[in-house]
Symmetry: C2
Subunit: 209 residues, 2 copies
């Protein structure tokens, strides 16, 4: 197996934390997004959709999308469990992981990519250039604020995002919260439940940068 | 178990097809999105995020998000298999399902909700009203066109979206293609591989409306 990473990017950080929580070390290729290495001919053979993370299996199959990569790793390295212990628990984890991605992670990316001059013509990931929509940066920020409120409410009901155990849903939510610093957002002082959780999960040895 | 559906909506159609392919019939509640039933107090107890599908388990747990609902059903009713037969296959299915959702289904919704006067103030699903961004309707359409090109290329390489067997990734991609009719899009005549696949999967008895 080979892990295509980019040490400064939030999407592959989801997999970096997942691996560290499992205690797995994989041969890793650092893809230089800054110099647009992911948009080059060489990387197109690995992932024509031009995103990291990617997990290349020994038979040459390339698994893209953080959620699919984590799912594979969970099966191959089942302990410690990060995706649920029975059918209902696994469904709950999958649901919260999806919510954290859709309502947390993507809105941060939307606000960043549509608002920051550095991402001009790169408003979406992928091989095709896409122009920014300034109104979408603003809408993304409003969505992030709503996500933080929802997260705070949820973490008033349960210790971790998907229930009483740390799971991949905590990883996705944590990466979204930390990613929001780049758009100068973050949990508010009033988000006491979410701040309690953030401090707790950030202190885990597996929660790497 | 109880399935919260809406017979005219594409997201719960993913679950309707999944159930029909498995040969499962569940007690079903049809939520009337047209009269905004999903935005009412009663449905907020089922899903505060105000979306269908939802699968209510017998212990009262509500599983939201089509992908999590399907994952639960796959575990409880494993045959016929729709999510992969080994770790690599399951990762491939999860990857393509996610791509079909992100690059196909959501861009159709984006184009529809930001461009159609019927969705004024409803540019996003969820309990909070969100204004339309006209530029996003246009960008959504361009993304759908790129998705169809990508799908056509993929279906020139393999019989089904995730490989040589019908899977949940075909369901998500099919629902996205059919959903695009509402924004007056669809596969082009030049998409010969995707049209071959569309005809084939549409003819399955489980592929219900």
């Amino acid at each position: 197996m080979k892990f295509y990473d980019c040490k400064t990017a939030p999407s592959p950080r989801r997999v970096r934390i997942f691996l560290a929580e499992k205690g797995i070390e994989l041969p890793t290729v650092d893809v230089d997004l800054g110099s647009r290495e992911h948009l080059g001919m060489e990387f197109a053979k690995v992932n024509p959709r031009a995103t990291v993370p990617v997990l290349a299996l020994d038979d040459g199959t390339c698994i893209c999308e953080a959620t699919a990569v984590c799912r594979y790793l969970e099966e191959v390295y089942p302990e410690p469990n990060l995706m649920g212990v029975d059918a209902a628990d696994r469904a709950r984890v999958a649901m919260w992981d999806h919510i954290a991605e859709m309502d947390g992670f993507f809105p941060v990316a939307e606000a960043l990519r549509n608002g920051n001059p550095h991402f001009k013509s790169r408003a979406l990931t992928g091989p095709v250039d896409v122009e920014q929509i300034p109104g979408l940066a603003e809408r993304g920020r409003a969505r992030v604020a709503r996500f933080f409120d929802m997260l705070d409410q949820r973490l008033g009901e349960s210790e971790y995002v998907a229930g009483e155990r740390f799971s991949v849903a905590d990883i996705t939510a944590l990466v979204a919260v930390d990613f929001s610093r780049i758009i100068k957002m973050g949990l508010e002082n009033s988000h006491r439940n979410a701040r309690r959780w953030h401090e707790q999960v950030s202190a885990r040895p597996g929660v790497v940068k």
